[in-house]
Structure formats: C-alpha cells, structure tokens
C-alpha cells in the first residue's frame, strides 16, 4: 500500500517536471504580464510539451488560440502555470485539478507574504484544493526549471537545456534564477530547480524527500530562510544526506521571539548556533552564500566521491605556494613534499632559476608550455600519496605575448592544448585535477582576457575539469567534499 502510494507520488512529480500537456493561465493577447512572458520563454527554450494558453478574453497569442476557460481545454492536463491575480487563483486551481493536472505552479503574488487576513485566507483556499488532489509550487514564486523538459523560470529563455545532477530548491525566486544562470557558465548542470516561494504545499520537506529518491539528482542544494516543521525537516534532510550530499544556504536568522531565557544553555543556544549544529548533525554541507553554494556544487559534481587528504599544487610564483599551504591547512588538507625521485624529475623539467619541485611546485614562469606542465602534473600525480592536483593557470599573462605578436590573446593563449594535456594526465593517473583560472585583470582594458578565459573555461569544463576563479574557493569547496564523505564514511562504519 505504502509502495503504491509512493509510486503514485513519483508519477505525479514526473508530470510536474516533464509535462506533456501544459496550461498557462493568464496569457493576454497584448502580450503583457507573466503569463505571456512564460509562453514566450517556454517557446524560446524549446519546451517539449503542448501548451494551452488561457484567458477569459480569448483571442490568439503567437498564432495559438487562447482558451477562455481551463474547462474548455479539450485534453487532460499534466501541469498548469497560473499567473492570474491572487483572487482568481483558487477557482483556476480547482479547474486545473478537475482537468486532471497533477500539479500547478502559481507565480501570482498577493498571498500570505502580504501579512493580510485576505492574503492568508487565499493561501488557505489553495491548501484546501491541494487536499483534494493536486500539488502546488508557490504561490509567489518563479516556478520550476527542468532542463530535460524545457520548463523554465521566468525570466529564463536562455537557461541551459543540458540536464545535470544538481537539484536546487529555493524559497527565493531570485536565488533560483541567479543560480540557474551561474551554473550555466560554471559548468553546473541541473536536474531540477524549484523556486517554491510561500510554499503553500510543496516545500523543503516534500522536495527533499523527492530529490533524495530522484535518480536524476546526485546532489541536492537548497536555499531556505524559514522552515515549516523542524522535526520533519530534520528527518528528511538526514535521510537525504545519508544518500547524497545536501548543500544548504540558510538565509537570515529566525526570530528568537521575545522569550526570556534564564539558563546559560538557552542564552548560548541562539538560532544561528542551533542551525549550524543541526546541519552538522545531519551531515549537511552548510555554505554562507550563493558563491560558496555554486563552488561546492561544482566540486561535488566533478570530483569522485571520496576524501582528498593530500594534494599537489602547481603554481607560478612562490607566494601562491605559501598561500596555498595556508588555505589547505585551514581545511585539513595537506600539501606534502613529493618523493625525492619525483622532485628530481620535476626539477629537471622546470625553468631555472627560481623554480621549485618540492610541492607546491613553483614553475616560476607563466610561459611554461602546456607540454611541460603536462609532464609536471604527470610526475606529481605519480606520487602514491597524492589524491588530487590543483593547477593555477596564468593564461592571462599571454596578453603580453599577444601584443608582441600583434594577435588577439584568445589565439595566442594555449588553453586548448593545456586542457587536452591535463585531461590526459587525469585519465592516466586516475586523480582529479582542479584548474584555477586566475585573473587579476578584469577592467574594460582587458575584455579580451575575460573573453579568452571564458573560452578556456569551456574547454576545461568540456573535458571534465572543474574550474575555479580563486585558489581559496577551490580549496574550500574540496574541503566541503572531504567533510561530507569523511563523515558519511564514519556514519556507515
């Protein structure tokens, strides 16, 4: 019985994320408003299903007939996007339910977030309809982005259609759209992104359970401000993080209210401390902002599921090596000296003087050829103790060379050769290599460098090599991977 119910739920989710018959309620002939906007972006995304626009005034939009009422749609619906005024939402939702829709996303605002009695009442009406058998995302949200089906957030006509393994569930629509855009160039592929706004029905607890079971999702990420029920959240996040990494950005502090506390324990157990403790207790990865969330997602997506205790770092300049050691130490990662014979072999490859084959390996010059860098990485990776390698690429320096040659920097910088070489070493050694594309030159004078590095990033990412802008960001992200798998291993005995 339980299993049957569970299967039914999974089928509903399938219809929600990959609908074949989709109603958009609130599409106006004039093309104004969220509904029409949604119609346009879904077409731009190449949404795979059939769309039925609805508006009481009827007419045509983009050459397609607009139905006056949901009831008039001649087929059974899978999903609906509702963008009508708040007052009209309950009736529309009920009509969608009767049309067989498994779910609806309600983009409209004007509910409990207003704090008015009317807003709260309207949201309660939504819940009453939900209880009759339809799942709701929202209201007051940006909706669902699912690269596989082409469902997208508003405004998101240009999000990637490439499906990936990261799910994001977010109370904030702005955070959802930002992460979706950020992921596209950073190389983070999404299974599903859900902005659930007020979360009248589906929210953190339900979505955690779904994503824990979703075979498309390997990494769960979330942005939450408040939760509805601490105990069920705790249960679900614990169960989820037992199976896959759960990365949490907790925004804001829950108000502690005006409660008086007497004991030392209560005075020290403020909301921030308790949140940190609870996330640690369930082995969730806590991050502070969207940047760190994205970086951690990148590391979890690209790196194998293990702890990287010892790493080698290839740098150009002694100070980078010192900073690398400091950063690594803070996360319990070691940069051990390589074995003597490898040091010697690497030393022979390095330009003289000023270089060091110790680890961090200081190549001293930004113009060491990709072939030599490849040989260095191949040797360092041969050390049994090394679990992972980082290379800080100084490609931006090629602008100087490009100027001398009178060519654009993107034609001079050997990023493709470097990417190919690094990929070869990863295959050969079986150890991941993380690339840092450092760039201290980001002004309008150096847009050519920015362009070149964007192209370079794509080459690395296409070859399965994770790219970070800064060394400390990469080390912090690797630290999160280590923390998660170390504790999961401990839990599993």
């Amino acid at each position: 019985m339980e299993q049957k119910k569970h299967d039914a739920v999974m089928i509903d989710y399938e219809k929600i994320f990959h609908p074949q018959k989709l109603a958009i309620v609130g599409v106006s002939e004039e093309g104004a408003g969220f509904g029409s906007g949604m119609f346009n972006v879904l077409q731009a995304m190449g949404f795979e299903g059939e769309i039925f626009p609805v508006n009481p005034k009827g007419g045509k939009f983009s050459g397609i007939d607009i139905y006056k009422r949901v009831e008039d749609i001649p087929v059974k619906l899978d999903f609906a996007i509702i963008c009508v005024t708040a007052k009209a939402v309950p009736d529309v939702l009920e009509a969608c339910r009767k049309k067989g829709a498994a779910g609806a996303e309600i983009l409209s605002a004007g509910f409990s977030e207003l704090g008015t009695a009317e807003g709260v009442e309207l949201e309660n009406k939504i819940r009453q309809i939900v209880a009759k058998g339809i799942r709701v995302v929202g209201p007051n949200c940006f909706g669902i982005y699912c690269p596989r089906s082409g469902l997208t957030l508003l405004p998101g006509p240009d999000l990637s259609r490439r499906s990936g393994s990261v799910a994001f569930l977010s109370q904030s629509g702005g955070m959802a759209i930002d992460f979706a855009h950020k992921g596209k160039w950073m190389g983070i592929g999404f299974s599903k992104v859900v902005s659930f706004g007020n979360g009248a029905d589906l929210r953190e607890t339900e979505l955690l359970r779904y994503f824990a079971n979703d075979p498309e999702t390997r990494i769960i990420t979330m942005y939450i401000e408040g939760i509805k029920d601490g105990d069920s959240f705790f249960r679900e996040i614990k169960a989820a993080s037992y199976r896959k990494p759960v990365i949490v950005c907790k925004g804001g502090l829950s108000p502690d209210g005006q409660r008086m506390v007497v004991s030392h324990t209560a005075s020290m157990g403020g909301s921030r401390v308790i949140w940190q403790s609870v996330l640690k207790q369930v082995n969730a990865v806590q991050v502070q902002d969207l940047e760190e969330l994205a970086e951690a997602s990148l590391a979890f997506s690209f790196l194998p599921e293990k702890v990287f205790k010892n790493i080698s770092v290839v740098v150009g300049g002694g100070a980078f090596g010192v900073i690398a050691c400091d950063a690594a130490e803070a996360f319990g990662i070691e940069i051990p000296p390589l074995s003597a014979d490898l040091q010697m072999r690497i030393g022979e490859l390095l330009p003289k003087p000023g270089s060091s084959g110790l680890n961090p390996i200081d190549v001293a010059s930004p113009f060491v050829s990709p072939q030599v860098l490849k040989e260095i990485l191949r040797n360092a990776g041969a050390d049994d103790r090394i679990d992972l390698q980082i290379i800080i690429s100084l490609l931006y320096h090629y602008k100087t060379m490009a100027r001398a040659l009178g060519k654009p920097v993107k034609e001079v910088a050997p990023y493709r050769e470097l990417a190919v070489g690094i990929q070869d070493v990863v295959k050969e050694t079986g150890k991941p290599i993380v690339v840092i594309l450092a760039n201290p030159k980001r002004g309008v004078d150096d847009l050519d460098i920015i362009e070149m590095l964007a192209l370079a990033r794509r080459e690395f990412l296409d070859r399965g090599l994770p790219v970070f802008d800064e060394l400390h960001e990469a080390i912090r992200a690797i630290g999160h991977v280590n923390g998660y798998y170390r504790r999961r291993k401990a839990e599993n005995g």
């Binding site: 601490g230 105990d231 004991s263 324990t265 209560a266 020290m268 157990g269 308790i274 403790s277 207790q281």
Partner: protein, 228 residues
C-alpha cells in the same frame, strides 16, 4: 527515584506555578534519568546539619536551596570546603539568614574534587525543539563560548561528536596527571538530557553547571531546571 516520581516533582512544581525546580528537586529528576549527581541532604534545622554531615563526611559544600533563586553564587549562597561541624553550622546560619525572604532550605552536599569543569544543558529551540549542549565550564563559559549543540534525540555518535567538536576537547583526555574522562558516561548524560526534553514538556531549559570530572567520572554538582 524513578521517572514517575520525577514527573511527580515537576507536576507538583507546575501546579504551584513555579518557574523553576530547586537544585535538590532538579537533581532528583536527573537521578531518575540515570544522570550521576552529588550525594546531598536537604536540611531545615541545625540538628539535621550534623546528622547530614556525618552521613556524607567532610569536606562538604553547603548551599541555599530555593526554586526562587536561579543563580546562587552571586547571592553568596554557596559555601565550599566546609571541614568541621562548627564551620558547617556557621555556614548554615549565614545561609538561613540570606534565604530569609525566599522559600527554601539548606542543602548539605558532598564536595567533589576535580579540576575539570564542564557545562551540559538542554534548551528548546522554536524550530527544532529540545537541543542539548556540551561545553567547557567554569567562570569563562560565557566568554569563550566553547560549546556544541545537537537536536534531540541525541544518538551516541552525536554525543561523542559533540565532545570532539569543542576546541577544548583535549580537556577530556589524560593530561597533567589526570585520567581521561569517562566519555561513555558523559555521552549518556547528553542522551538523557535529550530524553528529558522529549519526554517532559514542562521542562523548558536545563543547566548542569558545573559537571565536575571526579577521577574519570562526571558528576553533576549543580543543576538548574527551568519550567515552562
């Protein structure tokens, strides 16, 4: 003392609309949950002081015990290292005088020697319910805030991790001639604090401060239980 009598103590206090248990009552509740507490007697008269002292043996700690006073040290209600009947009676008289305006009695308690002080506790979070705390005790607790929390129910692995998590966790290892603290016993206290939070709704907050490591055994020397 079993759990039923513990519920009884709390029900009684809440019927009287009290905001807290006295130290003596709090320790009975803790003992009912298998948490090791000091041996102690509540006395009303001078004659009882000597009897209690004889049963426990010197040195002693003598405290004012009232549910109306949450923090005793500030009020001069704790006399430590009492070594004779004369000293005990003197302390009794002084405390009695200070207690004057409060409802309370005098608590005669074994003195637990030990240089390592911890603070353990329970608080209720608005979102996550009962949460248990572990930290370094002593006068710097609130300044250093070297503490860890876990939501109840606390599993043994959680409890062990809470202890490892604080910066001063080495205090639990053998050092300076002291034995390694019995972490199993500490883990059990943390688990039981969580259980109290889950089982007794009336209990709002708990402070075990200090818990002193005697040899290797943790013993609750002072306890505060705040009611809803």
């Amino acid at each position: 003392m079993d759990k039923n009598s513990a519920f009884g103590i709390i029900k009684n206090a809440s019927r009287e609309r009290r905001k807290a248990l006295s130290e003596y009552e709090a320790k009975q509740v803790l003992a009912a949950y298998g948490i090791p507490v000091t041996r102690e007697y509540l006395v009303e008269s001078r004659a009882d002081v000597e009897k209690a002292a004889q049963k426990i043996g010197y040195p002693l700690v003598i405290k004012g015990c009232s549910s109306e006073i949450a923090h005793k040290t500030e009020k001069g209600l704790i006399h430590t290292d009492i070594r004779s009947d004369a000293e005990a009676l003197k302390a009794f008289d002084e405390i009695k005088e200070k207690l004057n305006i409060y409802n309370g009695a005098v608590l005669i308690q074994e003195m637990i020697p030990g240089r390592r002080e911890l603070v353990l506790g329970m608080t209720r979070d608005d979102q996550f319910g009962p949460c248990v705390m572990f930290g370094l005790g002593g006068i710097f607790t609130e300044i250093i805030k070297d503490i860890s929390f876990r939501k109840a129910p606390v599993e043994k692995s959680d409890a062990l991790e809470m202890m490892r998590e604080i910066k001063g966790h080495n205090i639990l290892s053998a050092f300076r001639g002291m034995e390694a603290a019995d972490v199993e016993s500490l883990a059990n206290i943390l688990i039981q604090l969580g259980e109290i939070g889950l089982e007794i709704d009336y209990v709002q907050e708990i402070d075990l401060n200090p818990v002193i490591i005697f040899g290797k055994k943790p013993i609750v020397v002072d306890a505060l239980i705040i009611l809803k």
